[in-house]
Point group: C2
Chain length 212, copies 2
Amino acid sequence: MPQPIAFYFDFISPYAYIASTQIDALADRHGREVDWRPVLLGVTVMRVMGLKPLMETPLKGPYMRHDSPRMAKLFGVPLRHHGLKHLNGLAAARAFLALKQKDAGVAKAFARRIFHRLWVDGLDITPDETIAQEAAAFGADPREMLATITSDAGKQALRDAVDAAVGAGVFGVPFFIVDGEPVWGCDRLWMVEHWLRHGSWDPAGAAAASVP
Amino acid sequence: MPQPIAFYFDFISPYAYIASTQIDALADRHGREVDWRPVLLGVTVMRVMGLKPLMETPLKGPYMRHDSPRMAKLFGVPLRHHGLKHLNGLAAARAFLALKQKDAGVAKAFARRIFHRLWVDGLDITPDETIAQEAAAFGADPREMLATITSDAGKQALRDAVDAAVGAGVFGVPFFIVDGEPVWGCDRLWMVEHWLRHGSWDPAGAAAASVP
């Protein structure tokens, strides 16, 4: 039985959103499952790598603002530039982990809803109350969820998840680990597919033709 | 007459080397020319973006050391981990610009030789004398070339080229600009091909199938 593909995401990344619309169908074409794992770019990019936020990096910021809409277009998914400030995915990531403890499939459906809320509806995902309310549509009691995501245990669970991701070498999102191979970026989904098809990095047949 | 594709490179990047083995054939399949333009990662990454060198960035450095060999394998080109320290492509970039003033095709052949020297033969490309000697194989007088690449004018020509690249939004290598569309990374050659084929970012026909 092959291992699931690990898919690391942060709700605040447009590229993670785009990947979230693709990865399960891609895995399914090769009989694989996907294990969704939240991570925080604020920790990996800023604290661990010591870099500034991508969107605030000269040259790279403007490039990404031009790039993310065209990337969404290429993958045929909607993407809205939300223009929200001081956004974070802490509450949503904590809620995701709480839901996942009970049912990974439900947690995934919740995550898709949160991505959609931010990147298609253009609505904020930061407030704890908003997230508790969104979780209610997936069977959670909103009061319980609010208590969970503001509790020490809820916060620690996310810290542990981020530490584990950093321990696995994850530094950006989306990040995939397939059979031990780390792959970073929604622009590299073709590499995940290549690996699933061939189990190696040898250029081979149809895949090689699609590489360039 | 469509504009040539601008291809920005730094000899010290394994990804620029990999792209250098692909971009002209790719462009040629679509009746396009490629204009090779040297840039210096030391300027774009460190001075302009204020970031540290990629290979010295926690998590990202190890990822790239794992990634560049498999990327070379995927594209079917040889790549050697040279292990050289204190490498720079200043002299080679200056020589490239001097050769390009006379003949862009000769300069491109020289650049391919320098990439090969570093990434296939695993030999240093830093010393001025080495570069002058390599340029001799492409019709340059080695003494004249040595004088050129150590002259104020030779240094200024490279500074101007880097400034122009930064002005065009270039922050990493390989970087392509095709019909005004900026594309960063040898893992995105499929996007350059998509654009050349369709002239848009709409998912379409065979290209859409190869995206995921």
